[in-house]
């Protein structure tokens, strides 16, 4: 119950911050503009071979996923990096913790509230994407929604990470570290490729460790198969992979939140 109260309050706070509103508004404008962008490619041989609209849809989808990734990245970091520090600065944390609220309830509530705001924003963009694609292709492509939800899972992990880091480092360092983790986690395959070319077993081991320890944000990106749905249909049991990516996200969140609960329990406030 305490968790839900804190989550609702955090959700309301996130909405009042307006950053979400600005980001979502900009994202939706860009989503609509991507339609214009796609129109530039309707000429040429592609339309002559009957693929003009297919190229348009491909461009709209890829632009839309890019916009959602960019917006989600900004939102997840900027909605969560300051949650606990601002409560400490405003001293509202004392009011909360003086109530019969467990510390982990507070952290978990903050996390859930931020995720709710994130889900609302990303969900809104996802629906806008589906509508735009449906206008062009005259059909609802439901797998797109799965792709958007996985992106949400990616940003939920990033949100958890930002909350965890906010308990141990300053705001600026937190933001910088979040971006660094995101970059490192997204190019996880890059590290593996480097390791594959090396003969040094130590480097291979280190890279494997990085691959397993740093949150692998690339796991949540199925953009290419979402942009080209025929590839999605070709892959046997593709939905299971989405499920496993979600399981990965839940397990990683469990680690992050467990650490956050423990650190916050021991933190002097």
């Amino acid at each position: 119950m305490n968790i839900w109260v804190i989550a609702r309050s955090t959700f309301g706070e996130a909405i009042r911050k307006r950053i979400g509103l600005y980001v979502v508004f900009s994202a939706v404008v860009f989503l609509i503009l991507s339609q214009l962008f796609a129109q530039f490619s309707t000429g040429g041989v592609s339309s002559e071979i009957g693929g003009g609209s297919r190229v348009e849809i491909t461009i709209i989808k890829s632009m839309a996923f890019f916009i959602i990734v960019l917006s989600g990245l900004v939102l997840s970091i900027f909605l969560s990096f300051d949650l606990v520090p601002s409560d400490v600065d405003n001293k509202t944390i004392y009011t909360i913790l003086s109530k019969p609220v467990k510390r982990w309830h507070y952290v978990f509530g903050k996390f859930i509230g931020t995720c709710m705001a994130l889900l609302m924003n990303i969900g809104f963009m996802g629906v806008a994407l589906m509508v735009l694609v449906a206008i062009k292709s005259h059909q609802l492509e439901w797998p797109l929604l799965g792709g958007v939800l996985l992106l949400f899972m990616q940003f939920a992990v990033l949100t958890g990470l930002a909350i965890l880091l906010s308990l141990v480092v300053t705001r600026n360092i937190n933001v910088a570290l979040c971006f660094a983790f995101y970059l490192t986690g997204t190019v996880s395959e890059f590290w593996q490729s480097i390791a594959a070319t090396s003969d040094n077993p130590l480097i291979k081991l280190m890279v494997k460790a990085i691959h397993l320890v740093i949150p692998n944000f690339y796991n949540f990106s199925f953009t290419n198969t979402m942009v080209h749905l025929e590839k999605w249909r070709e892959i046997p049991n593709a939905a299971a992979d989405v499920g496993w990516a979600a399981v990965y996200g839940v397990l990683y969140l469990a680690v992050i939140l467990l650490l956050a609960f423990t650190i916050f329990e021991k933190k002097e406030v």
């Binding site: 962008f37 490619s41 000429g43 040429g44 297919r54 491909t58 190019v187 690339y218 025929e230």
Partner: protein, 442 residues
Amino acid sequence: MTTADNIHGTGTPRGIPLPRLIAAIAILFVGIGLVQTRLDQRRGLFNPVVNDPKRGLSASIRNNVFGASMLGIREVAAGMLWVKADELFHNGQYTELIPYFKLVTFLDPHQIDVYSTGAWHLSYNLGDARLVPQSTAFLDEGIANNSKIWDLYFQKGWLLFDWPAEDYEAALPLFQEAAKHPSTDGSPAPPYITHMIAHAMVRQGRVDDAIAQWQTNIDYAEAEHAKAKKTKNDTDIRYWQQERDVCRNNRELLLIRKTAREDVAKNPKRVTFTADVQKRGSRLLEVRVRTQGFPPLTDSYGEESNGRLELILQDRDYDKLAAQHKNDLLWVTKNLTRFRSIYNIIERNGTVTDRSKPVILVEMNKDPADQGRNPMDIYPLTSDEYELILRFQPRVRRQPEAVQNAFGWIGEGLAPGGQTRTGPSGSQMVEKRIPLKLDDIL
């Protein structure tokens, strides 16, 4: 409850004891490791790429390295480059397009339109006869990355069927393969693919097989038509009715032509060429060709018709060298020369004309596509020996129907011996090869 308890929240134990925390995190990481391993094993399925360094730029760089460094936005980059490529296309800057196509497919190997368009430019718009193998290699790369849909099998089949290659034997299995695969939206492949199967069979002289293929097409169209009638889908009813009628007409046309051409091989005609090659300037030759024994042609409507003569000027060992270096575009473009002119007309008086003049111009002193390229880049003339080939092939699609009426489906109406030689599928053609030295051209 003490003040200290309040500040620390109620219900303290102050965190999980360290050993338990470590154990819990270790267990979670074991789970993460297992899930990650499972995801790694399957990840390739979601982004399969050809990993053959011989296949050119887009496959020689590790796709996942570059892809990952694009932070999952490579499809956007591909889209932007595609828009830029489209702009170059509209400006007629075909040569500059090719690197864009390579980059787009490198970033997003599932952009099938880019493979089709790139191959189209390589085979048609650049006017460079040496690039056809590069074009099919580009499509091979596309097929490897998009093997479960019909599009690129068909595109490659068409390119091999049409005038850049005229290799019907290679085109047929591609059309047959294309017909087995669905469209990008999961719907069945369009029926015109099965039309091409029949057309490719005809060009190999397999007329009975082609008639049977048209019958198969008719049966399929009738079944679809019946289905559409059941569901009362007016658009589909009209579509499949039209498809059935087209297939019926094609089948009947083949039956009529089969009867009409039955005796062609019984009265073979000997056709020969004489040619006079003159240098009119550096890289500019005039070729005057006369045919002997070429009958006056008339089409089914009684209109005068005529045949088409192909002229090729290439390195003496062109075919062998091109096969040896088929994966090395740079070597091919730097070392090989191939000029090809295919629409020269064999007039009724036996003269061969090019653009209404009784002389074929071999213009290796200008860019064939008017792109402002240096002719030396397209015709490097690095060999000492060349050959000029004059060829009349009755079976090719660019010959009017009257040619096949006179010489048969695959040239079986040409008398053997002399300049007649046998080509693929037992087809007959008239061919004259004239050796040239570099000095004869430069």
